[in-house]
């Protein structure tokens, strides 16, 4: 006769059906083991983790440690919060970066905070959001500059030089648009940046490459040659011209 429970002693007792009390004992035992393992893991994390995390272990952690120290020392300086936000972005702590940006903007609503916010979205892989945020940053940069100009005018002075924040925001947006192969829109952004500072050879090369991609070969050549005017022998510009000669965009 078949004996599935193996109770006649012919089968291995492991095939025997466990009684509820035995199952419960086994479960309690397993729970106790797990509790011990969890406690051991937590204790190890606390004791050893504190040791390994005392000092920075990467350039990102060092930058963060420096930025955190700067914020501790001077929480009323917007620049400290800006550095902290960038440090968080570099190590991938995007929500902490958002928090630092929000707190920094309370100190001073600089356009730089909108740029780092766009950079945060870019690094987090949210390209569409980043493009929108760069656009917001551009507007903030223009407004901020207008306010600065007005303040300077009141003091009988005049601000000169490029609107650096506008350049940064426009370039950030342009590069994302290039990555999306929207060369036409990218060229518009490069134009904005170059209008502020026409002597940026590297940006001229980038715009030249975008123009070449959209088929504006004459425009591309002009940009590469213009870049070579500012940086004679610039390898990237020479490479661009060589690609045009070879018919390779």
């Amino acid at each position: 006769m078949k004996d599935p429970a193996g109770q006649n002693g012919s089968g291995r007792s492991s095939k025997r059906r466990r009684s509820p009390a035995e199952s419960q004992r086994a479960l309690v035992l397993a729970m106790m083991v797990l509790i011990v393992v969890i406690l051991a893991a937590v204790a190890t994390v606390i004791v050893y983790g504190m040791q390994v995390q005392k000092a920075p272990r990467t350039v990102g952690e060092r930058t963060l440690a420096t930025a955190e120290a700067a914020v501790r020392d001077a929480p009323d300086k917007a620049q400290s919060w800006l550095s902290l936000a960038y440090a968080y972005v570099e190590i991938g702590r995007y929500s902490a970066a958002s928090d630092a940006i929000a707190r920094g903007r309370k100190v001073e609503d600089l356009p730089d905070f909108y740029i780092v916010d766009a950079y945060r979205a870019e690094k987090a892989g949210n390209v569409e959001e980043a493009i929108q945020l760069y656009e917001v940053a551009k507007k903030k940069a223009i407004e901020y500059r207008k306010a600065q100009d007005a303040k300077a005018a009141e003091a009988g002075a005049r601000l000169t030089g490029a609107n650096e924040q506008l350049v940064s925001a426009a370039l950030g947006k342009a590069r994302l648009l290039v990555a999306q192969r929207d060369y036409k829109s990218a060229v518009v952004e490069y134009d904005i940046a170059l209008e502020q500072d026409p002597m940026m050879a590297d940006v001229l090369v980038e715009r030249g490459a975008a123009k070449a991609k959209m088929g504006d070969l004459a425009g591309a050549r002009a940009d590469y040659e213009e870049a070579l005017r500012y940086v004679p022998g610039m390898p990237e510009a020479l490479d661009g011209l060589a690609r045009l000669e070879a018919g390779d965009k």
Binding site: S13, Q24, V33, A40, A41, A55, R57, V59
Partner: protein, 405 residues
Amino acid sequence: MSEGLQVQGPDARSRRATSLLAVILVLLLLLLCGVGYFFVRVLVPAGAPETARVSEGMTWVRSIYGFGPSSDEQLLGPTDVAIAPDGRIYATDPQRARVLAFNPDGTFAGLVHTGAGGSDRGMLGRPAGITCDSRGNLYISDVVNGKILVFDHDYTFVREWPAQQALGMRVVDDKLYVRELGEVVIYTLDGIETARFGERGRGTGAVLEPTGGITADEKRVYVADALNQAVKVFSADGALLWSQPSTTATGGPTGTDERAAETTSSPVDLPQDVELDSSGQLYALDAFDFSIMRLDNATGKILGKWGTPGEKDGQFMYPTGLAYDAARDWFAVADTANNRVQIVRVEGTGGGVGQAVTRAMSSPFRVCAIPLVALLVGIAIILVTRKREEDRDEAGRGSGSLAAE
């Protein structure tokens, strides 16, 4: 009792209790997963390179920046590194007149700090070169006070002796090789000079500039002649065997225009240190090429080089000190301008299984062994308990059968 309610028997209650225990067990398992995730978050440094293979043929193991978050607790332009037999890594911190010690996993091990700028006996002014002997004693050159100091494994001062501009040095067996003012000086480990060769100067041949590291094997003495932009190799009695490049690239007092013309094509730019791996293979560290080079010991031919310039982990910026850990098959590099020490491995150093195990035991992840051992012990207890129960049941059934018969 209400009619709608059924009376629950002991079986139903028991089933419910078992289910409850099973649910708690699952929750504990989830909690363990959470702790494991936190474990990984703590042990993996934030911002580490996406892949350990940072450049072709080179693997980044870790970077060491100091022993705390503040700038005073971090390295500032370390000029040299040394590795003790137990794997401890030493780095000079010249601007703060101290030497920092780290465990192979990067955690802080100690500090040799005798008082900034001290010139008295046993005091450290500006440590430049550093090396260890087989007992773990530490030899530090102090270029400000013109001496070599010896500290034991516990950082206790042992002895010192005068040595002018001792910038590079290395203990090989029971000898201490030191670069002093363009000469190679060989001391016993007690500081007694036994040999001296070389001449200070610019150009080719046996002349040397003071800066750069030194190492040796039974047959040769290898010198990184930094300002002459060459790696030079001498016989044990001081005869020049070869130089890489064969003519010195720099002009200078003894140089010629022809040599100066070769500067641009020199394969060696600013060699700052030399080191041998466990198989005796020669390596040089080039500060201006931002690379570790492998050279043929007999001819000086460059067999390969690894490294890229930059500030990211795994890149170098004007590195000046190199040391090899034979037990773990890795190099420690004083990445001077990046204010850190980097631990890297390069392909072809002949690491074996033993070294891989030692390396794993030097990883921060080795602490995972503690909960893992707890888990294994727990599983073993469960299995033993079960086996005992089964044996008891079988014994009970056996005696029952006999009684029935």
